[in-house]
Point group: C2
Chain length 193, copies 2
DNA sequence: GATCTCATGTGACGATGTCAACCTAGTGGC
DNA sequence: GCCACTAGGTTGACATCGTCACATGAGATC
């Protein structure tokens, strides 16, 4: 026997997991509220007891992606330079392993309560800034931190859209990420031994 | 009296324009094939005579966005540095004026014939690279050109998602774009007088 | 043990993408 | 100048989907 609260929490969790799976497997158009519910073992109407609508459910999934990235960033070790590279590598990895999830994270906040997704991304970015602050001058933390994060996001987004398979750039996303980090972190102001 | 070919071409154009308008006005979820057709003055089924499906129509709209950007890039004048900044400013402007259109352009190629969208973006990026090649060493053109383009894309994408309104980065998209361009074009290798 | 309270199940409705069949007005051959 | 042809356009129909109002039943509260 399970308490009603436990049962509800389990359902909510199952809905989030099912939605994330379907998103990973078939992209946004494969995420059907009906399929999500079915995979979670509940009926069509059950999700509405936990989420306002489909977009809110997907926003919650995206928010959890930010949480995971935040944890991975916090778990980095080594020199500041290594940790910055590691944090950005975690972002890159999420983008490659879960492209649809990644796009949801970086896309426009949807659903009711868009603030939830925004604040989740904020916490992650603050986590990243904390590492950057050990690497560059105080006055440059936000400028270079923001440039690193949003720049790498753009590079990976371009990769996911196939912009490196065409031969136009004649380079790889990895090389661009490395170039960006090197220019900012190592070349521009080598604040580390 | 109009020839059949002219009429068909006009219908196709009206469909593209209507789709672009609806996309601009209400975002992707507001783009209904029925509404597009109605605004274009034709019936529900008419679009299928010109596009394989809804995604293909939106891909064609996105491709036209790349074409316009390509023209704007080609129209830049001044020093190489000014033209690079102008080209990137054109990208920024599209993102701000037509955020939904912008996201479609940079998003994953959808619909049948994804190659159409890819090749359109390629042409635009080659146009950009042509300018960059006047600014940096030959061996760095693709690396720095790609970094500039994808980096600025990411900065603007972050802005469109509200990541600069939260105070986390404590800076603006404009400053990040300027910082990136300055570091690469002016600071790193000032190949221009 | 009676009642209450939610989480969930179910029926229904409107909207939408898509297709098949039909229609119609330019088009080309005689 | 007439006629069959053809491609673009219209209409009806269908499956699917998000969403809501209502019913239901099992835990929670007294």
């Amino acid at each position: 026997m399970v308490s009603r609260a436990e049962s509800a929490a389990a359902t909510r969790r199952a809905l989030l997991d099912s939605a994330a799976e379907l998103l990973d497997e078939g992209g946004p158009e494969a995420v059907t509220l009906r399929d999500v519910a079915a995979r979670a073992g509940v009926s069509r109407g059950a999700p509405y007891g936990h989420f306002a609508d489909k977009e809110s459910l997907l926003a919650a999934v995206a928010a959890e992606g930010w949480e995971r990235l935040s944890n991975e960033i916090a778990a980095q070790s080594g020199t500041p330079s290594e940790r910055v590279r590691g944090a950005l590598a975690a972002l890159v990895t999420i983008g490659r392993r879960h492209p649809h999830h990644y796009r949801r994270m970086l896309g426009p906040p949807a659903g009711e309560e868009p603030g939830k997704l925004i604040s989740a991304s904020c916490r992650t970015q603050e986590e990243f800034l904390a590492i950057v602050s050990e690497l560059v001058d105080e006055c440059d933390v936000h400028r270079y931190g923001g440039l690193l994060f949003t720049g790498v996001s753009g590079i990976i987004a371009a990769e996911l859209s196939g912009h490196f398979e065409t031969g136009t750039w004649r380079t790889s996303a990895d090389e661009l990420v490395d170039t960006l980090v090197t220019i900012i972190a190592d070349g521009r102001l080598q604040a580390e031994g």
